[in-house]
Symmetry: C3
């Protein structure tokens, strides 16, 4: 709490969204906006509960918990959207989470840190591992999209997506083995450490409180997500946005708000290893874990399964974002202009997605 300004007052939007959805279900845009804001503090509490739970276990299990629940809010929103058959929104929010973390969060962190510090350094070895994982993920998204472009819709697409999803999840587990076990010294400054910084000097919560908060926050995110995805179509229309734009930009910003504020604060305090680890690590987790898990879950949940075939605009956005992030993060140093460069690429992509008509 010392380092991160409290977002708890935003919790008032949680009942706000739910009540408004009940009493005035036709106010789609207002409901959507309020539900968006309501997710932010809940995602924060979910993260905090995970961190306290992690401290009660061994370091390895703790790291695993943090890594697994790190993007739980995005996952929950996506599951509710899947159940409604909003497959385009789900894919758009995966795209948005990947590019949002490496362009918006990392860019804002470099800019905030660079305004205060002339030049900042971070652990280049850890950043390179993550950057290469993102390049690998871009291959896993480019090839199915190319396959679709060449072959057209076919049953092979689904099998191919499932097989690549298995490969990605195995890769993610091997990354955990690498970063939490065999080469953990390479990764100074993980999300777990960020939590300690955040609450330093405070005793960890009891197991019951941790688990209770975790379940409670997740349930509330589920409830708000139900409201949010119920209003997204109508809200997008009345705001003059496509659903894809809402998914890529709006949902992605909302779902990652907690990471945003922590990473920027860490950069301001010149703890760049943490800032880079949170931003890039989040993108890696979405690409290698959340996306393939959603492919599997969607086979059973909801009216329509999703595959790894993203739209050309999404694939191009992810590929280019990963390319420039690798270039910028590859030297282990940052300054304010590098932050601007990442933010500018985000702005260009956002402009293009804004004008892109619905499919």
């Amino acid at each position: 709490m010392k380092l991160r300004p409290s977002l708890d007052w935003l919790l008032v939007f949680v009942p706000g969204a739910i009540v408004l959805d009940f009493v005035a279900p036709e106010r789609h845009t207002l409901i959507f906006l309020i539900a968006c804001v309501a997710v932010i503090p809940l995602a924060g509490w979910l993260g905090k509960a995970t961190e306290h739970l992690a401290e009660r276990t061994t370091e390895g299990i703790g790291g695993l918990l943090n890594a697994t629940f790190g993007n739980a809010a995005e996952l929950i929103i996506a599951l509710f959207a899947l159940r409604r058959g909003l497959t385009e929104v789900v894919k758009a929010s995966i795209t948005g989470s990947i590019i949002g973390n490496i362009l918006l969060v990392l860019g804002a962190s470099f800019l905030a840190g660079g305004v205060r510090h002339r030049e900042q350094e971070f652990n280049v070895a850890g950043a390179r591992v993550q950057a290469t994982m993102l390049t690998l993920a871009s291959v896993a998204l480019i090839m199915p999209a190319l396959f679709h472009h060449l072959v057209g819709a076919s049953s092979a697409e689904r099998t191919l997506s499932l097989e690549i999803s298995v490969v990605l999840i195995v890769t993610y587990l091997l990354l955990l083995l690498f970063s939490l076990h065999t080469h953990k010294k390479l990764f100074t400054g993980t999300a777990a450490e960020a939590a300690q910084v955040d609450d330093e000097g405070k005793a960890p919560w009891s197991l019951a409180r941790s688990l209770g908060t975790l379940v409670g926050a997740a349930a509330m995110i589920g409830w708000v997500s139900e409201v949010l995805v119920g209003s997204v179509e109508a809200a997008a229309g009345s705001l003059g946005m496509t659903e894809v734009f809402v998914g890529v930009i709006v949902v992605a910003i909302v779902g990652n708000a907690a990471e945003h504020s922590t990473a920027i604060l860490m950069a301001w305090k010149n703890r760049m290893d943490l800032a880079v680890g949170i931003a890039v690590g989040s993108s890696v987790q979405i690409a290698l874990f959340v996306a393939p898990v959603l492919v599997f879950v969607s086979q059973f949940l909801g009216p329509e399964p999703i595959d790894l075939v993203f739209t050309p605009a999404e694939v191009a956005a992810i590929g280019l974002a990963i390319l420039i992030t690798g270039q910028i993060a590859g030297d282990g140093r940052s300054n304010w202009l590098e932050g601007v460069q990442l933010l500018v690429v985000y702005a260009i992509l956002a402009i293009v997605f804004f004008f892109l008509p619905a499919a």
Copy 2:
């Protein structure tokens, strides 16, 4: 003058082009070739006047002047081509300037320097900033082209191009702030320094002489450009080239001849910071400043506005040129083979543009 062989005798081609255009306007090919050569010494004088003017001001303003007028010759030619409605030629010459500076000028510099010196070093921090800016610029060109490919011609294209152009110009101004003010020590060896080297020991020109030469050279370039763009269509036809090939290869070589000779000479003298700064810096300026300025100016000037939608071949050429330049320049060292590599990529692109039929 000491370091750079004088191109002043080429000034005889200036009246030559103008007179020939008047007495034998049907000799298109000859007029075109003579006008091309005539631009070279004029661009040199324009550059020299800018540098002398820059020395009369503060360092910051001087850097700004150099940066702004650095590609004035290309800008003037492009404006005259715009007025004639030669939008394809304008875009082709932007493409050619970007790839010509990083492949041809930088490649020839690495080769010339590498023949004499076994290995050469340059300031890697400055080169990285510029290389990342080029990657950013490639995003700004790839996404509109993709948009066009997906959506087809639409009014959104124009709005999108204007908005991205604003973003690029702001980015360019922030780059100037970074390189001339907040982090100027990162950039040892700028174009301004090259000028000092060039004329070292000589007194700077008076303000009147600087301004007079600047205006005079610009006016003459305008006149010759009028002749040049008037003959380009017919000349291209009789030379068996498309207008796009002439724009990408011929106009780009002519407009950047002054940079070519200076950069190669600097590399030969083992002043690699200057050589790299001139070559890569020129590409950055074309992509982030000249191109978006032309988008804006074309809204008012000429029969047809231009946008940022380049052809697939142009986008691929720019993207690949930027990719390999980033890889080659990323380690702060060069040798003759790296020069060969850049020149070979230029040759491959030139071959493809040569065979590409007119749209």
Copy 3:
């Protein structure tokens, strides 16, 4: 012999393939599989003969011999496939050799070495030169494919392919000049050195024995190749694979088996310069020398010439493989996870090629 487990017992498959093809020519799949295995020990003997021949000459000529005959087995198989008009298989096996060496061989080497050694280092300067050459080669493959996509089949394609092939061969010769003469100190650990390690303490063969073995092994590879390419179409069909998949994955693995075993063994012994040199150097040689030579030879040999127009899936696979290899090899260090990353990209590409229907 001390370091590399003998593959000589596999020689029994050589007469096996030839005899079976004679007595039971309808057993296509079995013939194909046996012929595949039979190539492996023959390629090993071809390599060994080249190395002994190289030791009898000056260092420069020896390096040249090694470099030129390094992929002789692939070349011979491709020539026999060309004569049968299997142009798609030839291109697919070029693709497979390029990506197989940098993803499968280098990946397996990094993994094998990384399991035993926490972190391994290799000569980053040499690796960067090779990686940049691969990027250059990717430009030489992307642009013709784009040309074909934009213009359609045309006579210009053939001229363009021949011109770019000339450029690539010249580039390859300049690379040899660089690596064997002007900057040979940059390349510690070449294939020649690998041979010495392999047979250290043993006397080099006589000239007659070297030449005899070279010619004999090449002739046998030719014979087996004739059998192999004669059965590939029918075998692919009955195995449920397309010819392209067989070319990209199966033929590529078979033709490079000798490199595979040597590179992995070198990595295990922590001689990473050799492992990286063999893997990446092989890909460079295929892309800059074998592929353009096949373009020329195919003009005279076989029913149908080939060009440099590869399919979109092949171009994407090569481009992405080269991109991630550059990123992974760019820091001069490796660990087991980097090996996994390369192997995972190979697996993703293999999955996509498996599902890709025949053109």
